[in-house]
């Protein structure tokens, strides 16, 4: 174990993945308080005995058979339903015939996601890189957290404990009775067992013994059929505690799995789970509520009987088999875990670790930890249907290759020849490899150029000289690599450790001189805005802080928090001089020439481009904008201001019809934020507009900015009801045009009873 746990990466280079799987999640998500006890309990039971149909059939009388239905087929079903013969993917009619009492529920994806959230949060505590494959199934890379938490074993145990605790806490309906079992169901983590034991009140003696013991003894024999012969898996995955179970089940999976697994969408779930890894301790024997130790003896009786090689209490065997280095669980005695065993598991999570996501999902379903590099052996007994390609699986089956192992044994070249890319992918999966060879993102060559100054250069001018040389070198390097860069970052390091950087649009069109010129502009701009000033002892600056004038998208704002002071002396950068100048090409692309027109027909000539660049050096990237036509009804929606150099993608076409749009005479002053106004009628009452665009009275005066203006003429209201289908964007307003004394005309808007001056005509 130690080797697998410590390495984190298998020898084949396939990353180790840990998958957390919560079985029957669609059912869990829609479970209701009423059926929580029996249904959930039975669900967990049934999942155990899932592959052993006869087992559950006889025992699951207490649970409510529940099935989640989607598209006329069974998406998931509770154990009781499964016991009655309901299967995933079954037609509704058949399912109902098999199980007349079947309770059908619609799928609730939101609930699935919502209720899975605590699980994800619990897993995220181990590593932020959690990938939620779907609600009920999430994966994390083992590499980092595996080392941190002391190996895969420990990580798996801890994750399982956390997930179980999260599930127990997150299932409110089951809180009273199922929290305990949930924890107990995965007897990996002591915390769970303890918390469960602490939280859980004594289960209803009438319910528990009534259902569990009846269920359990029946379940076990079916689940871990001791009479099965040992399987190759036993040698294959010798490290796992559940090997004893696994070896027994493997052959059955080969045989029985084929018929069973093909039906379900994620095939192999039942067979894999029930057989391979159901650890000895997993089937928690229901404790008699009043007596912990004795009940344990009681409950374990049947299980132990089926496991002659492990007569020890289940959990201690498990502890021994799954060592948790350094964990307090290592020496954990049975009884405390037994407390948790008092009831059947609630929605539980299973953890599996294997090479690659595909195998890890199967491992999670089986609840096993596959050692690094042995994933192929783990996968070998599975039927080919697990590979997820129905057509291929059917074909392989007919070709006499029913198992993944048999398929994996074929030479890769032959598979590629015969089955093409899809076959190759499946073959790689079967061999425990990534579905496709890794294509690592090439980080791109580091083409940045820099010049260091030692001692620090106090003046800006030498940097400009150096910048030209640097730019030439940069361009040589780019040309040598056949690349061009969209942007180039100019970074200046100061002696006090600060680095200021600024991106310039390059697009292969800047010459070395032009680049050097930009460096100069930039240094000048920084100096004039006090970028390099150190400390608060700077001189006075202008009345405005330039920071406040830049848009939030300005690169300078992001990169360059400055003191509020300014000193306009270029002699002293204030930060002890410049120590380095660096030009870093950004967003490298193959040099394929450049497109001349910037947009439309209005090609900006060099003169404008340079002026724009210089203005942007002063005001920031968003400080200078161009105009793009846009669509809308109001005066402010006819055009948008786009920062120069940024692409613009209109979300509403400008030439579309805009019913209710204002007509030809547009206001010349459009207030960025409409001014609040008061519109009164002749009696001094506010003018209102009702829902049918009726005006309460003739507007008599408009008060804006404290000035009361008499209304000469008015018209309206012009209702504009926009995006009524989208609550986030819906607006409902009415516009008025009024002329007031003084030869002014105003565009008034009333929205929600509030009057605003949207624009002015003058």
């Amino acid at each position: 174990m130690a080797d697998g746990g410590a390495s984190g990466v298998s020898g084949a280079g396939t990353p180790r993945v840990l998958v957390v799987w919560c079985p029957d999640w669609p059912v869990v998500a829609v479970e209701r308080p009423g059926d929580a006890g029996p249904a959930v309990a039975a669900g967990a039971d049934g999942s155990i005995g899932a592959d052993g149909r006869p087992v559950a059939a006889g025992s699951a009388g207490g649970g409510i058979p529940v099935a989640v239905v989607e598209g006329g087929r069974v998406l998931a079903c509770s154990a009781a339903a499964r016991a009655a013969g309901v299967r995933q993917g079954q037609r509704l009619k058949l399912a109902q015939r098999l199980c007349p009492a079947l309770e059908l529920r619609d799928r609730d994806p939101e609930a699935e996601t919502r209720r899975f959230e605590p699980v994800v949060a619990a897993v995220e505590a181990f590593t932020p890189r959690v990938e939620v494959l779907r609600p009920g199934l999430c994966a994390i890379p083992v590499k980092g957290p595996g080392r941190y938490f002391g190996g895969e074993e420990a990580l798996a145990a801890k994750v399982q404990g956390a997930v179980t605790a999260a599930l127990a806490a997150a299932v409110p309906t089951a809180a009273a009775t199922d929290a305990g079992p949930a924890a107990a169901g995965r007897p990996v983590h002591p915390v769970d067992a303890e918390s469960a034991a602490g939280v859980r009140p004594a289960p209803d003696p009438g319910l528990d013994p009534g259902t569990r013991p009846g269920t359990r003894p029946g379940t076990r024999p079916g689940t871990s059929p001791g009479d099965r012969g040992p399987a190759p898996v036993a040698e294959v995955v010798p490290l796992h505690p559940a090997d004893a179970d696994a070896d027994r089940t493997a052959p059955r999976r080969r045989t029985a799995g084929v018929d069973e697994l093909f039906a379900a969408t994620p095939a192999a779930r039942d067979g894999a789970r029930g057989g391979f890894a159901r650890p000895a301790a997993y089937p928690p024997e229901p404790a008699r509520p009043e007596s912990r130790p004795e009940s344990r003896q009681d409950g374990l009786g049947p299980a132990a009987a089926h496991r002659p090689e492990a007569p020890h209490p289940a959990e201690s065997r498990r502890e021994g088999a799954r060592p948790q280095p350094g964990g307090p669980e290592a020496g954990r005695p049975g009884p405390s875990a037994a407390e948790g065993l008092a009831a059947a598991p609630a929605p539980c999570g299973q953890v599996g670790v294997a090479d690659g996501l595909f195998a890890a999902v199967l491992a999670a379903r089986a609840g096993v930890l596959v050692p690094a590099g042995r994933t192929a052996e783990f996968l070998a007994p599975y039927p080919v249907a697990v590979l997820g390609d129905e057509v291929l699986a059917e074909l392989l089956d007919r070709l006499g290759l029913p198992t993944v192992g048999a398929f994996a044994a074929l030479p890769a070249e032959a598979v590629a020849d015969r089955f093409g890319p899809a076959g190759t992918t499946a073959h790689r999966l079967a061999r425990g490899l990534q579905p496709r060879p890794l294509v690592p993102r090439t980080g791109g060559p580091d083409l940045s150029v820099e010049q260091r100054f030692d001692p620090p250069e106090p003046l800006a001018e030498p940097l400009v000289f150096v910048a030209r040389t640097l730019a030439e070198r940069l361009h040589q390097r780019l040309a040598g690599a056949g690349l061009t860069c969209q942007r180039v970052a100019v970074e200046v390091e100061c002696a006090d450790g600060r680095t200021v950087a600024r991106l310039w649009r390059h697009e292969g069109r800047l010459s070395a001189t032009a680049l050097a010129e930009r460096v100069r502009w930039q240094l000048q701009a920084w100096q004039s805005t006090g970028t390099f000033d150190a400390g608060p002892a700077g001189g006075p600056r202008g009345p405005h802080d330039p920071d406040g004038l830049r848009g939030p998208g300005s690169p300078r704002d992001r990169r360059n928090p400055r003191g509020p002071e300014s000193r306009h002396d270029s002699e002293d950068p204030g930060a002890g001089g410049f120590t380095a100048l660096r030009l870093v090409p950004d967003d490298l692309t193959p040099d394929q020439g450049r497109q001349l027109a910037l947009w439309g027909q209005a090609v900006a000539d060099d003169r404008v481009e340079r002026a724009v660049a210089r203005v942007q050096a002063v005001l920031g990237h968003a400080g200078l904008r161009r105009i793009e036509p846009a669509g809308g009804r109001g005066p402010d929606e006819q055009a948008v201001r786009v920062p120069w150099g940024e692409p613009y993608d209109p979300d509403a076409p400008a030439d579309a019809p805009w019913p209710g749009r204002l007509r030809d005479v547009w206001p010349t002053v459009v207030h960025r934020t409409p001014l609040p106004a008061a519109v009164l009628d002749a009696d001094g009452r506010p003018v209102t507009v009702d829902g049918r665009a009726g005006v309460s009275a003739r507007p008599s005066t408009v008060t804006v900015r404290g000035r009361q203006l008499a209304v000469d003429g008015w018209t309206g209201p012009w209702p504009a009801v926009e995006y009524w289908w989208d609550p986030a964007r819906a607006r409902r307003r009415a516009r008025f045009q009024v002329t007031v004394a003084g030869g002014l005309a105003l565009l008034l808007t009333v929205e929600g009873g509030v009057w605003l001056v949207e624009a002015g005509y003058d």
Binding site: Q638, R641, R663, T668, V670, R698, G716, A745
Partner: protein, 237 residues
């Protein structure tokens, strides 16, 4: 840039009248003393009447590929600008230059034909003089919304009247204004013109003579004498 400026200077400051004038829309030719905006000068639009500002700037379209810029005019009605004839694709806007407006103007002056500007506060005369030098060198027209020290030409509107609105019906169809221009040199005697600013199509148009006797062009001397006072009054609005 230097070479471009030099070229421009060589051509622009010469006596070539065509080179030295930025064309304006036909409706405004009558009111401008030279029939256009002299390049390299600053023009003050009293009161910052945005309609007049845009009508004056619309002449940039008649230059070949000339650009315009708006500095410190964040609430400029772009739809109205397009209505007056300004080419929005060749418009640069620096909405919030703040205290850097002078720097922005001096940089943009080398690249665009015309700059509309609303300064960030009162303009000290020495700064205006420095910018005047930049403008002369670059042959760019500066249209200032508000007063400007040493402006070569001052324009304003007065007695504006909107048409089209009734009592609860109609819609704005146009505004008749009297545009007043006064300045130095040949423009020392003020001129006025009665214009639709805008007319029903959003553009500037001369008010046609009607039986009602609306003054079309060439106002009398009495207007001239009162022009300055009139501009001041308008500036308050």
């Amino acid at each position: 840039m230097a070479s471009a400026a030099a070229l421009r200077e060589a051509g622009g400051t010469g006596t070539d009248a065509g080179r030295g004038l930025l064309p304006v829309v036909p409706a405004l030719r009558g009111v401008l003393p030279e029939g256009g905006l002299r390049r390299g000068t600053a023009v003050s639009v009293a009161g910052g009447d945005a309609g007049l500002l845009l009508a004056l700037a619309a002449g940039v379209r008649e230059t070949e590929g000339g650009w315009a810029a708006a500095v410190g005019l964040p609430d400029l009605g772009l739809a109205a600008a397009a209505g007056y004839g300004l080419d929005l694709r060749r418009l640069l806007v620096a909405d919030d230059p703040g205290p850097h407006w002078a720097e922005v103007v001096s940089v943009l002056a080398g690249a665009v034909e015309l700059i509309m500007l609303r300064p960030d506060g009162p303009v000290p005369p020495n700064l205006a003089a420095r910018l005047a030098a930049v403008l002369r060198r670059s042959a760019c027209v500066l249209l200032v919304a508000g007063p400007w020290p040493g402006a070569g030409l001052r324009l304003g509107v007065r007695s504006g009247q909107w048409f089209g609105l009734g009592d609860g019906h109609g819609q704005l169809t146009g505004r008749q204004v009297e545009v007043v221009a006064e300045g130095r040199g040949s423009a020392v005697r003020g001129r006025t013109a009665r214009l639709w600013l805008p007319d029903a199509h959003g553009t500037a148009r001369v008010v046609e003579e009607t039986a009602a006797g609306v003054v079309v062009d060439e106002a009398g001397e009495d207007v001239t004498s009162g022009a300055g006072a009139g501009l001041d009054r308008m500036a308050v609005v």
